[in-house]
Structures are given as C-alpha cells and as structure tokens.
C-alpha cells in the first residue's frame, strides 16, 4: 500500500514541496501523488528524480494525473 498525496488544485511549488517533505520523512518506499496539471506532473517527476526516486507509473485521469514514485 503506497502513501497518497493529494495535491489536486494546488499550483507549484506546493505539489513538489509536499512530495519532497514526504520523501524526506519516509526515505524509501512508494508514494502516489495526485496533481491536476502537466506542469505539476513534470515538476514532481523531476524533483523525485533529483532525490534518487524513480517515476514508475503515470495514470491520466479526468481530473489530472496520478504519479507513482518509488525508491527501493
């Protein structure tokens, strides 16, 4: 079961801040982030990558995107 961050409706840098906070907190594992714009999607993936996390899945939904990031 991965941790879910709901960043829908929030503009950058909020989704990135929330993701980085969670990454710092749990160090490794799986996080699912919900965002609603392409910009947020790119920014979250880029931030995760800079912390050594991998984007494993991006699902497009009616309201936006669900991004899964992972670190073993």
């Amino acid at each position: 079961m991965s941790i879910i961050i709901n960043a829908e409706g929030l503009s950058c840098p909020q989704p990135v801040l929330m993701t980085l906070d969670k990454i710092k907190e749990i160090q490794k594992g799986e996080i699912m982030i919900k965002v609603d714009t392409n910009t947020s999607k790119e920014n979250v993936s880029r931030a995760a990558q800079s912390q050594g996390w991998k984007t494993t899945d991006i699902q497009e939904q009616i309201t936006g995107y669900q991004i899964t990031i992972k670190k073993e």
Binding site: G9, L10, S11, C12, P13, N38, E42, R46
Partner: protein, 361 residues
Amino acid sequence: MVKNYFSTRWGIIGVGCFIGIFAAFLQKLGNPGNMGICVACFERDIAGAIGIHRAAVVQYMRPEIIGFVLGSLMAAYIFKEFRPRTGSAPIARFVLGIFAMIGALIFLGCPWRAMLRLAGGDGNAIFGLLGLIFGIWIGTLFLKSGYNLGRAKTTHTSAGWLMPLIMLGFLALMLVFPQIEGQGKNGILFYSTKGPGVMHAPLIVSLIIGLAIGFAAQQSRFCTMGAFRDLILFKQMHLFFGIIALVASAFIVNLILGQFHPGFTNQPVSHSLSLWNFSGMALAGLAFALAGGCPGRQLFLAGEGDGDAAVFVLGMIVGAAFSHNFGLASSPKGIGPHGIAALITGIIVCLFIGFTMRKKI
C-alpha cells in the same frame, strides 16, 4: 505519451534563447530601449491605451501581451493542456498583482526587462535583479513555513476563456481604432505621441512574435520567478537555465545589432537610484513568489485556463493605473512623489498575506 520536448533542459534553454533573441530584435524594430519585451511595462501601456491612467507617454495597446495569452491558449489546446480552473484565493492574487506592478514600476521593468536591461549594458539592472532575488527569497521562507493560497477547482470552460477573450477584444479594438500618426486618440483608444509609448514594432510583427513566445513558453513553463525560487527552495537548476539563455542570447544579439551600451547613467527608460531599484524589485519579487509566477508566466497560465492567474494579470493592469494616477511610478527623472509610501504599504500587505494565509491543506 508524447514527450514534451519543450520541458527538457534543452527545451527550456531553447525557449530562453528564443525570447532573448526576439526581444532584442523587437527593440531593433521599434520597441523602446532595453524593452524589447517587458510584461509589466506593456501591461502598463495597455492600461494607458484604455485610458485607466492618463500618463500620455505610456499609452499603447501592446500586441505582444495579446500574443502571449493567445499563443499559450493555442499550445494548451493542441497539447490538450487547457484546464479551466479557479478559486485559489482570487482576491489575494488581485491584490498581489496590484503591488507586483507598483514594485515593478518603481524599478521600471518586470524580471524579463531586468534581464534585458542587463543584456543591454544597463548596470542599474543588477540592483533590480538583486532585489528580485531578495524578494523571492522572502517568499520561499513563507512557502517553507506552509504559506499557500489554497486549492483551485475545475470550472466552466468558458470561464477559462475569459482572459483570452479579453485579449481578443483588445486586438479587435486595435483594429477598429488603429493608431493615426501624430494623434493621441482614435475612438476610445489612447496612443502616445511621444515617449516610450510611441515606440513600437509593427503590429503584425509584435503579434506574431508574441504568439510564438506564448506558444513556446506555455509548453516550457518558462518562469523567471520560478527560476530563482526553485534554485533557492530545491537547488533545482531547470528553469534557471532558461533565464541564463535569455540573458546570454539577448546580450549577443545586442552586441551584433549595436544595442549594447554599458554604464549606469543615461540608460533608456531607467533611473540610477540603486536603493529604489533594489526595493521596488524586492516588493515585486515577493508578490510574484506569493502568487506563484512572474508576470509572463501569469499570462501563459491565464492562456491555459487558469482563472486565478488571469485575476493576477487584471490586478497588475489596475496596479499600473494606480501607479500613474497616484504618482507611484518612477521615471528617468527619479521615483514618483508617493512611490516610497506605496512601496512600504506593499511590503506590509505582502507580509500580511504571507503570514496569515497558511491554511492546512
């Protein structure tokens, strides 16, 4: 999924170069000195064109601004990124827009122009840029301590279209009431007959370059405030490469076109009061950081359906009217009679917004 080339490192560098090169060319083609593109100045000129301020030297319906919004709208539709949304504290964004403009007009330029001024040799821009970074740094402290304006919600598609429609309306007004040489007014539109407002590239050139920049910038998410913010907040260089590219390319083109004149005095549309150049941009930088984007980025967001960014843009246009009606804006002669009072008020208002708007999300 098609990879968005514009959002890669080379993409953002390419867009920065594109803006720098065409800004320098727009100056060559008639735009004011070191003002090939200035979002704050051009919105101020639009405020003058529709007569909500009567500073006769800065009145012109700038097609670049219209192009930015409509170009972004086109890109957003082509790449299926148009998302009508609003409701993230619009009133706070309106107020931030007002003070962002007041701060920018104390310095005499938005971040884009600060960089173009630097690329044109205007040393005063250094103080403006330092102020901008300082203001953004204060903004990141608020962001770190939980500041946010809350969530936006999906809204009607037509609501997302309102800012692009306003821009189409402006364009229509310009075609119905075109500039008549030597005349200060045609129909309801004001046109400067002297000063920076009379200096402009041909309408069609301005519009096409504006559209192209709007298109590319929407896709690349180019943002000057974000460049510094992400660097300070995340040590993330991505957007920063874009602004480096802008300065470098504008500098090279300025050299080639003979538009590079290093110095601190007699620079076009500027003053050399370092303290106020710094403080004005510090206020603007803080307001941009709290609102989540530089003036250019707010136009591109408005084009892709962000109603909150559209409210910020309207705030800036109203702020320009306040600036010139109440003597807040600087001029080459120095700062306006009430510039300092407005600056202090602006800082207090931004701090109030920063300290009090930190709803748990």
